[in-house]
Symmetry: C2
Subunit: 442 residues, 2 copies
């Protein structure tokens, strides 16, 4: 019988751990994927890709030949001494004294991982996703994404929110409409969750404040650069609010928190991507009708859809934010009731509008939120007015029948937020393995 006590092996050396000159000459072990091999005859440079950067190892000809098959894509363990070298990535290299091939690839890479991979089309990069992500810049996108979701949770833990895990399989979709995936669940009809909306509301009655970070599913029949059929939603819902502005305030503080976290702990990746994050002192909020009128007048684009913002209008609002409000973010509030789900709270001052909002980031919607109806009678009345059936919603309605505090919340599309911050032009760039109408693999 063995006893497992904890981690005993020393970690692989990485350049990010080298803080000063004192480590020059130190004997270290470094592992990594073979990112690039440059064979100059008498000397061979093998650049290893590690999780936080590249490290150059230097072989003499004899050791390289004796070490076995060292090829791009393989995995290698080296031991040797550190030498300062200004031309090496990170300013140092390892003079190899011993090497062990950990893995040999069976084929060469279908894409140029160590060069500008964007010369390959998006389709090609997605077709070979496990390979294209080995490019330093491509993978950095998802380190930034990690910071965004990590910041969301950390900020909310600190604000007394409880993290929840709600089912993705259910009897009824929360958002209505046709964009819903259906399946058979032990011979019963079931759907995939379009959002955790019902559950997070029910749980406000339990924990007062809740959040979830998880997948949602939308069978949208749109194949645009803004749509995914499965995406990661950052959802929160909070009770005891007096207005929807409190939700917007919470989002503003989250964004500020996340930008600070990224600048602090993801500096390397931001630099690699040449990305400067927005500074958020405050976020301007325009009313829906006001914003619509404003861009129509200012940019000469007549409004066509009266109840919603078209993508081009959102873009123009983004331009307005940049040019006139000095802000990458703009809240749009008071969306028409017609285009919002039944659970949205109507504005008591004008019931054609709702106490709801979107947040645009550089002209693209990244968040939808608002205050919800908490009164049971009001909720049923609105469902009735819309001709909705209560079937499959008994548990949701029971929470309201037994009393719910005033509340509201929001959902942020993680992939959209990622690409908007990084200046990517297609939401697929922000998904490790995107799902769209034409893509179910890899």
């Amino acid at each position: 019988m063995k006893q497992i006590t904890g981690i005993t092996k020393q970690e692989s050396f990485r350049l990010s751990r080298m803080t000063d000159r004192t480590e020059e000459g130190a004997f270290v072990r470094a592992e990594g994927a073979v990112h690039r091999v440059r064979n100059l005859g008498e000397v061979v440079f093998v650049v290893l890709r590690q999780r936080d950067g590249l490290i150059q190892t230097v072989f003499d000809r004899k050791r390289f030949e004796e070490s076995g098959e060292i090829r791009e894509g393989g995995a290698l363990r080296t031991e040797g001494r550190i030498r300062r070298e200004g031309r090496a990535p990170g300013g140092a290299e390892i003079i190899v004294e011993k090497a062990q091939v950990l893995s040999v690839p069976a084929a060469s890479l279908p894409l140029p991982v160590d060069r500008n991979i964007r010369t390959a089309s998006l389709e090609a990069r997605l077709d070979h996703r496990a390979i294209s992500l080995r490019n330093m810049k491509e993978r950095a996108v998802f380190r930034i994404q990690e910071g965004l979701v990590r910041g969301f949770r950390d900020y909310l833990y600190g604000q007394g929110f409880t993290e929840i895990h709600t089912p993705k399989l259910g009897a009824k979709g929360a958002e209505g409409g046709a964009n819903i995936f259906k399946l058979s669940y032990f011979h019963k009809p079931a759907v995939l969750a379009q959002s955790p909306q019902f559950y997070k509301q029910m749980l406000v009655g339990v924990f007062d404040r809740v959040f979830e970070t998880g997948p949602v599913f939308r069978a949208e029949k749109h194949n645009t650069r803004r749509h995914l059929n499965e995406y990661t939603s950052l959802d929160l819902e909070m009770g005891y609010i007096d207005s929807m502005e409190e939700i917007m305030e919470t989002e503003t503080e989250y964004l500020r928190y996340a930008m600070a976290l990224l600048n602090r702990e993801y500096e390397r990746e931001l630099k690699l991507l040449n990305c400067e994050l927005p500074r958020i002192a405050s976020i301007p909020a325009l009313r829906f009708d006001e914003a619509k009128k404003l861009v129509a007048e200012l940019y000469g684009r007549p409004a066509r859809a009266p109840y919603d913002l078209e993508p081009e209008e959102e873009e123009l609002i983004g331009r307005y934010g940049r040019e006139h409000l000095n802000s990458d973010f703009v809240f749009i509030t008071h969306y028409p009731s017609k285009k919002r789900p039944f659970y949205a709270m109507d504005d008591p001052e004008d019931s054609r509008f709702t106490l709801s909002f979107d947040l645009l980031c550089r002209g693209v919607e990244v968040t939808t939120g608002g205050q919800r109806i908490h009164d049971y009678g009001m909720l049923r009345k609105k469902m009735e007015a819309r001709g909705m059936s209560e079937e499959g919603m008994e548990g949701y309605l029971e929470a309201f029948r037994c009393g719910m505090p005033p509340h509201g919340g929001l959902g942020i599309g993680l992939e959209r937020l990622t690409v908007q911050l990084l200046g990517e032009d297609n939401v697929r760039e922000g998904s490790l393995f995107p799902r769209d109408m034409g893509r179910l693999t890899p």
Copy 2:
């Protein structure tokens, strides 16, 4: 136009924020759900449920009558002065000077939320889940669960793991077998992910170390106290390992980290649930065949299934761990190849067994993990030997063809770990809204 700058409203007073006597007599605003009303005639005690505990408010008869409908399940805002009172929950109460009813329930609660709710059956509690969770102990279970998943992420961030979000919709299941949910994806056959296995392995080639916390789907036709058809899986996968023990070491340290986090930040809930967490100095590891023989001999239970552990055997191993090894956790290693998926690495010393393990917590499996095959040729050979088709797996196989480091990982069932630590006897107690063969709502 408004400017949203951040949170401006002062938070509701909560007893957990009261640190010393100096706050006696302070004028505060406290909100909460009406948890209990005790009307003594001249004086009425209204206990409010807040996210971190109960707080007693005291009304005189007149103010109570003038305040509107204050009923269990409703939501209330009070203002008043703090008074020390040993008999009140938390040792203090608020003498109400002003009250505002925020919400009035339309019906009384179907379950006794403020008393021992376990007098109601599990079925009844699950049928009315949004209500039964309002019970203080029921909801505390999910605060503990939060600590477990939060600890998982925090520990792994610190170890250089990258968080990933992988698709739940795909063309092929990772674990094989019949327990797979199928659906139509824009007229193409699709499945729900049984695990993020393929994706986390592919991404080890990108980030070296990855983890994911998300839902997985198993169409198991078992309606037992151990099975859920949708559960939350804590997955990690790490490269550059020399043995499966490194995975087990990482899990051991995670568990220690999580126990410390829970003891530090979830003390209130642990106390409420009367739960003492295991102390983990080390975790004993037994070989599969050794463990099987041992419980057969020690407890007189002849082994029947030669290639797997039956639930009763796991229970007996748990008993052995408690009685002889002084441990709530036991690793079982070297499972037979026949019962492990194709991607498991066979033991080079005896290929009938694999370099894989389970972790049992108090006699129930909570983790499956192990070293994986990283060599392309070996992987294809094993797939061929099992008669597997490569269809739908092209992207997975390409990662190996282009080179993968030695690696391994594990998946922890969050709900199982939660209930095993808390001594619950049914995994459904650890799921907010469980999904089983008979339950798709609420």
